[in-house]
Symmetry: C2
Subunit: 241 residues, 2 copies
């Protein structure tokens, strides 16, 4: 980014400041351009409407997410690719905490802006779901049972889970003023759901439902131990799901 | 519903038909009112804008969902209440399959309408999350570890999972022409995610992480058996999570 003019970022910061200071409806494109020190036509090189200016570049990020998922090693877990993708999305906010916090303040006040953010989020969820569908449809290791019925359900739920975790982390981080490491928060959240999602994504493989080996692992479980701990123990003992 | 004039439903059916036949931008409120056999002012008694007319009454349904969740027995599982709520939402579509299928055709074509539907869906997800937060904060059985940190994550992910399951079922049912039992499809999907979600919602109770009893259950696990089967076995052996 060094040396590149930050015109887009400046326009976004100016738009958010003006919307917060004098109201969304009351602010014009001309005022935003002036506050950012550029001409009106420069504004329209970056954004179509004044509310576009509020948001990070979701179109660009969605494209990068799609590229990342398309290039993901089919032999590594699907969730690893989704984790990377979630970090890409988070970086749009985490790279500029001051703007992110002020944008959050704004979208909480202005309902149509909040709705635009929700719509953007949904596009990532669809791309994540499609990635899992392709994974499930592809031959080779990690093959799931296709995209119909419960497999389609599984992919959609897994994608929704990753997006919900991302959104939760982002919101908590913003509420805390954006002062600590958002990516570390996301890693912690994704760790917490990973054991669950691994089961969800890999547990119903038909090739695994009929095990090749017959090795038996004996696990002693105390009553009352949370199931996620049991699952973790069994995974460790059986070499992972 | 018997005997009640179906003015709202007639207007919705007329709006969807006209949008599909002659285009969304090309259709006026007057044409919709005329096609439904009512006056223009009657249209505005039910809807604020012409795109409002396309959708089922999400405001009314959200209110009923909130009432249902507020009245849910705190001693029964949170997921049971969310299941009922998901069926309430689904019923708006399933009660009138012909309109639902045509609406789906329309929202697939007209991007702004699809986005409105996504926004509506997100409101249910928020209400579900808040319900789980309240459950976690309330004293008594079923108490979770509060709403901060991982507990907040857990609630948000659980709500997203139920909504994703609902949306998946609704879409599959609409694609199949809305001809079979949507509620049976939803039950099957919710059954599939229930074991996972039960763990997710109940597995991290602090009072359960420190078990009172020390009874030990020994489970023999074959390598390669899907984890959800193992979990089910252990649940059966330990008397459920």
């Amino acid at each position: 980014m060094t040396g590149r003019p930050r015109v887009r970022e400046d326009l976004t910061a100016a738009a958010i400041s003006l919307f917060l200071a004098q109201g969304y409806d009351e602010t014009t494109v001309d005022e935003i351009a002036e506050a950012a020190g550029v001409a009106r036509r420069t504004f329209f090189r970056y954004f179509r409407t004044k509310d576009d200016a509020v948001f990070p570049d979701h179109d660009d990020c969605l494209k990068r997410v799609q590229d990342l998922l398309a290039a993901a090693d089919p032999r590594s877990p699907a969730l690893a690719a989704l984790r990377e993708a979630a970090h890409l999305v988070l970086a749009m906010y985490a790279d500029d905490p001051a703007t992110a916090v002020r944008r959050y303040e704004l979208t909480r006040r202005v309902e149509p802006l909040r709705e635009r953010e929700i719509t953007a989020t949904n596009r990532y969820q669809r791309v994540f779901t499609e990635f899992l569908h392709r994974r499930a449809a592809a031959p080779g290791p990690g093959t799931g049972p296709g995209t119909g019925g419960q497999a389609g359900l599984r992919d959609e739920v897994a994608a929704a889970t990753v997006v919900a975790a991302h959104n939760h982390v982002l919101r908590q981080w913003l509420r805390a003023g954006g002062s600590d490491d958002a990516h570390a928060r996301l890693d912690a959240a994704l760790d917490a759901i990973e054991a669950m999602l691994d089961q969800w994504l890999d547990g119903e493989h038909p090739d695994r439902a009929d095990p090749v080996g017959e090795d038996v692992v004996v696990v002693a479980v105390r009553r009352g131990v949370p199931m996620w701990r049991v699952v973790r123990e069994i995974e460790a003992a059986t070499g992972g799901a």
